[in-house]
């Protein structure tokens, strides 16, 4: 049985076999369950067909799963060593995407690698966590608590956040900011600094409003009053609430969601897949999926606390928070608690890059757990 909190201090590098034996199989099972639920829902989204989504997703999950296992067996020191290289490489890719987007037609978020479309912003979610973890691993509490010590990490956050914002991808940009914010909090940045940033953000809302695209303004206005344009911008959220609410406690049954299958619910295979799940399996199904996600997050925290390295702890917490944000923002969005910002439900929604990046981050988290006994010096 897995124990949620224990620390050992055997500072030694485990062998590959030991590493493999040290993998948390219950954690992997949970992830597979969530992915399985996602594939079942994609099967339903296509009105009971494997095409065009379910089979594809299964394939991607297979690739992601392999990547996760491989990453889990990598020595955690390697992640730390290449954290900055990875970060800057991804940052350059972001710049390339932005430039291509301006030269080409309209918004572009990906680079076509031929076999897949790579979204650098998804890579950045991992790269930023690793880079910050390395930075804070090396800095002293004193430096963390000083203003000067925060300038470099702040720039590390703001540069990609800005690049993603102008793509424009407000959702991912906010996720980068929130993930980084959580890491700043965890490492011990004083609360009053958060207060100042918060007040500054509130004060800059009127200014920032002008920089939002019309569709982003629309989303915010629609969130504040979905009825202002029930057939236009408000349509998604109104139909989502109808689908959810009409599902009731027990749901309408697999493949029997009227809102989903009669196409009243838009984007049911991507951003609104949780709505379809809640319509077909009711509150019971929705809460079940939510609890599975909570357990996954709890495992991540547990791995973090068991790690003997500061880098490992912080990286696991950052990646866990990133996963939490997928879950919370997506659910809150389809439930009408926050504006529609276009964040998918990781592991359930259809989407290649998200599956791969989330599986990769699980791989790194597993690596933190597998290498929990390796104590890394301050360099």
């Amino acid at each position: 049985m897995y124990k949620f909190y224990e620390t050992s201090f055997k500072n030694q590098t485990p062998t590959l076999k030991e590493k493999f034996q040290n993998l948390s199989f219950s954690y992997i099972m949970l992830i597979m369950m969530l992915a399985g639920i996602g594939i079942v829902m994609l099967y339903s989204a296509a009105n009971g067909h494997w095409h065009p989504w379910a089979l594809n997703q299964l394939l991607r999950f297979g690739i992601g799963f392999t990547a996760m296992i491989i990453l889990a067996l990598v020595d955690i020191r390697i992640f730390m060593r290449y954290a900055y290289v990875f970060y800057f490489g991804t940052l350059i890719l972001l710049v390339i995407v932005d430039v291509m987007g301006h030269v080409g037609m309209g918004a572009q978020r990906w680079i076509n690698l031929g076999f897949m479309k790579l979204q650098p912003s998804e890579l950045m979610k991992i790269a930023l966590v690793l880079a910050l973890a390395r930075y804070f691993h090396s800095s002293s509490l004193q430096s963390i608590e000083s203003v000067r010590g925060l300038i470099v990490p702040a720039l590390m956050v703001l540069a990609p956040a800005f690049l993603v914002m102008v793509q424009p991808d407000l959702g991912t940009s906010l996720m980068l900011l929130f993930t980084a914010g959580a890491m700043f909090f965890v490492v011990g940045v004083q609360l009053w600094k958060f207060g100042i940033v918060l007040i500054g953000a509130l004060l800059s809302i009127p200014v920032g409003w002008h920089f939002l695209y019309d569709y982003q303004k629309n989303r915010v206005l629609t969130f504040l009053d979905p009825e202002r344009d029930p057939l236009g911008a408000g349509y998604h959220i109104i139909q989502s609430k109808i689908a959810l609410g009409s599902g009731g406690v027990f749901g309408k049954g697999f493949l029997k969601g009227t809102q989903s299958h009669l196409n009243f619910l838009p984007e049911k295979h991507t951003d609104f897949i949780f709505t379809m799940l809640s319509e077909e399996f009711g509150m019971i199904g929705a809460v079940f999926v939510l609890i599975l996600n909570m357990i996954v997050i709890a495992y991540c925290y547990s791995f973090a606390l068991k790690s003997s390295s500061y880098f490992g702890k912080l990286a696991a917490i950052g990646l866990a928070t990133n996963f939490f944000l997928y879950v919370f923002i997506n659910m809150a969005m389809v439930l009408g608690l926050i504006p529609v910002v276009g964040v998918p439900l990781a592991l359930i929604s259809y989407g290649g890059t998200v599956v791969l990046s989330v599986m990769a981050s699980f791989g790194i988290i597993l690596s933190v757990y597998v290498n929990r006994n390796i104590n890394i010096g301050k360099d």
Partner: protein, 603 residues
């Protein structure tokens, strides 16, 4: 090192706080799920059903109207129509323009289409053109790619086989207007039509039936996925009228373009066999909806096509009124079989001279002869002795001066004056001279042709209060009419006079007589002036009718019945500003008797 272990402790503390915070946020999600899926579930279930279920009214077929022999007078015809669904067009005007290239639309039609489009929601189909031929349907379907939003629909439209010949009885159906009482969801169905006149209006509720419901599951684009529930409506009731289509047609044709009215009814049952107001409009045009110009044209027509002259036209009864005056005189003992008057062609009352239509006079004349020759002097004298109130009493007993209530709209009551009426109306007392001219059915006296037919039927029946009806009375069914309090002998005298009018030389309708297997017609003619003949004109010679403009010519009237010895059919005919009412009555009664003898008798 100390600071380093502090750094580690801070991390763990803060990590636990962060984890707890995330846990709380996910609990909020659960609360929200509870709120939407349990607390508000019913509300959203209703909304989801409203989304997916589209309810359509099923329009029941309208009841067919038959004549007494199961011949259809109003029926439903297959009708192809082109509809436009605004939300399926790219540009409404472009689609309309493309349609006009295939099939021209009048400005009035286009106006109506645009009005309909504005009044209805964008997914409601709007009629562009109906009564399309097969060829037109295929032309539209061939050009379908250029006509986004245009669909061909197969529906039922009302059709009147006899057209204008039954227009003023059957009436017509037309679109629901804003003034109509919307007591039935069917009336909200676009293109639904209701009875606007005649029997169609009178029996609207019975003819309409009850709408059904079709519940369909539709997807977000309005495509029908499956049928959920179908509740069949109740078809409109079929209605059998008393009319005989053969006689109705004949009666209308007999007018040959003249303006007037004719009512033929059964003496025994009160059933109306033919009911004509001529000339009439075409009800088949009315059901399609006519333009404002066409409506104006109909309205301004000299012959008043839209006016039902049989119930809405009020005319002086003229000499046909003498039947009532004679009966009043006999019943009140003013005259009897033996009493005679001397007609010298005119008589004096005070300073006024009253003329008989015959300048040289009729000499000594009794009541039967007075009716036969329609002597005015005899009835002046009778009316003078009777006084207006006794005449009025008898006239009302025979159904004059009040509505018959046969069920048609705009029925007028006519007018039977008396001293009380004049006082109320003018605050003047009744003049004796007014009694005189009332005695020959002129002056204030006004009746409708239907009232005259009713009067005649009551005389012919031997004094029963016959009430006309459009409902078919099946054989065996009896209508009990009250017996009037009139001496049979007096009625026989008047009927004798009426028979002499037609069948004895010198009678005013002698030229219209017939003898069909010993069955003859009896009746009474009438001619009413619509202008005053001045003293000066009378001296210099009265202008001939033919030399007067049409609208100043006299009306021609005839009331009658047949067969003479056993009256079965009563008739009233009016020709506005023309001659020959007796001729029409004669031909129609003769036809009726002939049909009665045929394998498919009238009754």
């Amino acid at each position: 090192m100390n600071r380093d272990s502090d750094k580690g402790k801070v991390l763990i503390n803060r990590a636990l706080i962060l984890g707890a915070g995330q846990f709380v946020l996910l609990l909020v999600i659960i609360l929200r799920l509870y709120y939407l899926q349990v607390y508000q579930a019913d509300k959203y279930k209703t909304l989801a059903d409203e989304n997916r279920i589209s309810t359509r009214m099923l329009v029941p077929p309208r009841g067919v109207i038959y004549d007494r022999h199961q011949q259809m007078l109003a029926t439903n015809q297959q009708n192809f129509q082109a509809l436009m669904v605004a939300e399926q067009t790219i540009n409404i005007q472009e689609t309309l323009d493309a349609f006009k290239k295939i099939m021209p639309l009048s400005e009035a039609e286009e106006e109506r289409i645009k009005k309909d489009l504005k009044r209805n929601r964008s997914f409601v189909p709007i009629k562009i053109k109906d009564n399309l031929t097969w060829e037109e349907v295929s032309r539209i379907q061939l050009n379908a790619p250029d006509l986004p939003g245009i669909i061909i629909d197969e529906g039922l439209s009302r059709y009147y086989p006899l057209g204008e010949k039954t227009a003023h009885v059957i009436g017509y159906v037309s679109s629901v207007s804003e003034n109509d009482v919307k007591d039935d969801p069917l009336l909200e169905v676009p293109g639904f039509k209701i009875g606007k006149a005649g029997i169609e209006k009178l029996y609207e509720k019975r003819l309409r039936g009850k709408g059904g419901n079709l519940k369909l599951e539709v997807n977000a684009y309005g495509r029908i996925m499956k049928e959920i529930e179908k509740v069949e409506g109740i078809p409109g009731e079929k209605i059998e009228l008393s009319l005989d289509a053969r006689l109705q047609e004949k009666a209308y044709d007999l007018f040959e373009g003249n303006s007037g009215a004719a009512i033929l009814m059964s003496v025994n049952t009160g059933e109306i066999l033919a009911f004509v107001s001529a000339p009439a409009y075409d009800p088949n045009l009315m059901t399609q909806g006519i333009s404002t110009e066409e409506w104006k044209e109909l309205n301004s027509n000299e012959f008043n096509l839209l006016v039902n002259k049989a119930v809405s036209g009020q005319y002086s009864p003229g000499s046909t009124f003498k039947i009532v005056v004679a009966l009043a005189g006999l019943e009140n003992g003013i005259i009897n079989t033996l009493s005679r008057s001397f007609c010298a062609g005119k008589m004096m009352l005070g300073n006024h001279t009253f003329h008989c239509w015959k300048n040289i006079g009729h000499g000594y004349i009794n009541v039967v002869q007075a009716l036969q020759h329609s002597c005015d002097i005899f009835f002046y004298e009778t009316a003078q002795k009777l006084g207006i109130n006794k005449i009025a009493e008898m006239a009302r007993a025979f159904g004059l001066g009040k509505k018959v209530n046969v069920g048609l709209e705009n029925e007028k009551s006519g007018l039977i004056p008396d001293t009380e009426w004049k006082w109320q109306r003018f605050r003047e007392s009744w003049q004796q001279g007014e009694s005189l001219i009332s005695g020959i059915g002129q002056g204030y006296v006004l009746t409708t042709p239907l009232q005259l037919a009713t009067m005649t039927a009551r005389v012919a029946s031997g004094g029963y209060e016959v009430v006309p009806t459009f409902n078919k009375i099946n054989p065996g069914e009896k209508r009990d009419f009250k017996k009037m309090n009139i001496k049979p002998m007096n009625l026989e005298l008047v009927k004798q006079g009426m028979c002499d009018v037609v069948n004895v030389p010198g009678g005013t309708a002698y030229w219209s007589r017939f003898d069909f297997n010993g069955q003859k017609m009896c009746g009474k003619t009438g001619t009413t002036q619509v202008r005053r003949i001045t003293m000066k004109e009378r001296q210099s010679g009265v202008i001939k009718q033919e030399d007067l403009p049409w609208k100043y010519r006299d009306h021609s009237l005839f009331v009658g019945y047949a067969p003479h010895d056993n009256p079965k059919y009563a008739i009233a005919v009016l020709i506005e500003h023309g001659k020959g009412a007796a001729g029409i009555a004669s031909e129609l009664l003769l036809e009726t008797l002939k049909l009665d003898a045929s394998p498919k008798p009238v009754e």
